[in-house]
């Protein structure tokens, strides 16, 4: 994944187009973003708030850091209808999320997953879950453990038994 967008969202379109409402989002670490309502409502959670008229004051986005929220806003901007001219360009842009071989990329994806889950953004959720799924696919259990830094709490006997019992899954 490439570098996250810096918090440029706050400058986007807050002076022009008086008809478009701006929503104020505040990340967990206190960073404040102003986002067009039309963009932010890609989040089902925020859309619900807007529909219920609960989005008049600052919306706190718990458990999401400013850095992650900036990435989320970048995602929204790209996915706004008409923002990217063709499908191919969008896919190309999205492809930066596909490989998570670096640890920093993985951390970003986890952050984005948590944010997408909390804010309920289906497109982002799909993209990040498939990135993780792709990374898991084809790996042996040991490779998965190493890649994702997962500690096994099986004792050896138990693990061997499980492996034996389910041989089919461990052949290539």
């Amino acid at each position: 994944m490439s570098t996250a967008a810096t918090a440029d969202a706050s400058s986007s379109g807050d002076t022009t187009e008086g008809s478009v409402r701006l929503l104020t989002l505040q990340s967990e670490d206190g960073e404040v973003f102003e986002v067009k309502e039309t963009i932010a409502t890609q989040s089902v959670t925020i859309k619900g708030m807007v529909d219920d008229d609960c989005a008049t004051s600052t919306i706190p986005v718990c458990n999401v850091t400013g850095r992650t929220l900036a990435m989320v806003i970048e995602w929204w901007n790209k996915h706004e209808i008409g923002a990217v001219s063709n499908e191919k360009e969008l896919k190309e842009w999205e492809s930066q999320f596909d490989t998570i071989d670096d640890k920093s990329d993985r951390d970003d994806v986890y952050d984005l997953l948590m944010a997408a889950n909390y804010l309920n953004i289906p497109t982002l959720l799909d993209c990040c879950t498939s990135a993780v799924a792709e990374a898991i696919k084809g790996k042996s259990t040991d490779e998965m453990r190493e890649f994702f830094d997962i500690k096994s709490d099986f004792d050896e006997k138990e693990e061997d038994a499980l492996r034996k019992e389910n041989q089919w899954a461990f052949e290539n």
Binding site: T99, Y110, A133, T141, M144, I150, A169
Partner: protein
């Protein structure tokens, strides 16, 4: 993005699926470009044979779900971020991969042991319309759980001799389901729950209790009857419902309910034993009760017992 495995879309071509003699750990499969697929297993152990094809095979398995609470404590100990993700996300991720890779995650740690089994069965089979589960088993369930079948476009569902833990319940949730057939020859008919099944046109339930169950008096028979009782109680709000039970009497027992005609038919009611009227009553609750009373009255007269009808009717 490279992918050597079939993608999620591969199940979207599938319209008809038959799983037969499936055991725990077996795949019910959707195969790319094949709109119909039968999974057939006559001679267990068949695991190898089925799964060798499994890089073609897309999920899902007939495996018991597990009680959520049991992992709560383990959660405190985990350190890695992947395991820390909320469960729905983990299940979503697992639903995107082939069965082999998903299974391999079960050895990551105790916490992951059962993650791969967690999903709504068949919910990723986007175009599945016709599903038959014949002689399938669900094992490894040590607590009450729901076996949920929810495919978004399911129209016809047949469950035949589904062997499931006695207290488990089959939950069917489908807005498009029109026809549901259940055949059961076990000692305990499954408990059922139907959710959001507003399109249902017909439910056929045929019960074939094993002769040994009914031949014995006492606990076996009683248990069976109560299972049927609970099953029909749960279904009595469904309008088009037909329940039949053979080997109960010479002519069988048929209960037929059709609200359009507001008609209830009892076939061979004469020979029904008293307990079975409980079942009948549970089904006609609030509907055509007078008619039922008349029938019961006639019935009891023929049997030469006048007390039966009033006593049983009080139970409603």
């Amino acid at each position: 993005m490279k992918s050597t495995y079939p993608k999620r879309v591969c199940t979207s071509n599938l319209t008809k699926l038959i799983g037969q003699h499936c055991l725990r750990g077996h795949c019910i499969a959707g195969i790319a470009d094949q709109p119909e697929y039968s999974l057939f297993n006559r001679n267990p152990p068949i695991q190898e044979r089925l799964h060798i094809r499994s890089n073609q095979i897309y999920r899902s398995t007939l495996l018991a779900s597990y009680p959520m609470d049991s992992t709560k404590q383990l959660k405190l100990m985990k350190t890695d971020r992947l395991s820390n993700l909320p469960e729905p996300i983990i299940f979503h991720i697992l639903s995107l991969m082939d069965i082999k890779s998903a299974f391999r995650t079960s050895l990551l740690s105790n916490e992951w042991k059962f993650h791969w089994t967690q999903f709504n069965f068949f919910s990723s089979f986007l175009s599945l319309e016709n599903l038959s589960l014949i002689d399938c088993f669900v094992t490894d369930c040590w607590k009450v759980f729901n076996f949920e079948i929810s495919a978004p476009r399911l129209v016809c569902l047949t469950i035949s001799n589904f062997n499931i833990y006695e207290l488990a319940r089959i939950v069917i949730s489908s807005t498009t389901l029109k026809l549901f057939n259940l055949n059961d020859n076990s000692h305990h008919p499954p408990l059922l729950r139907m959710e959001n099944c507003q399109s249902l046109v017909r439910v056929n339930i045929d019960l074939f209790p094993p002769a040994t169950t009914l031949a014995r008096t006492g606990i076996f028979k009683e248990t069976y009857i109560y299972h049927v009782f609970y099953m029909t109680t749960a279904l009595r709000y469904l309008n088009p419902l037909r329940v039949s039970c053979t080997s109960l009497s010479k002519e069988g027992f048929l209960l037929y309910k059709n609200t359009q005609a507001t008609e209830i038919k009892f076939v061979a009611l004469k020979e029904i034993e008293d307990e079975w009227l409980l079942v009948a009553l549970s089904m006609v609750h609030g509907l055509g009760l007078d008619q039922l009373a008349t029938k019961l009255h006639e019935n009891s007269k023929q049997k030469g017992s006048d007390q039966l009808a009033p006593i049983k009717l009080q139970l409603v």
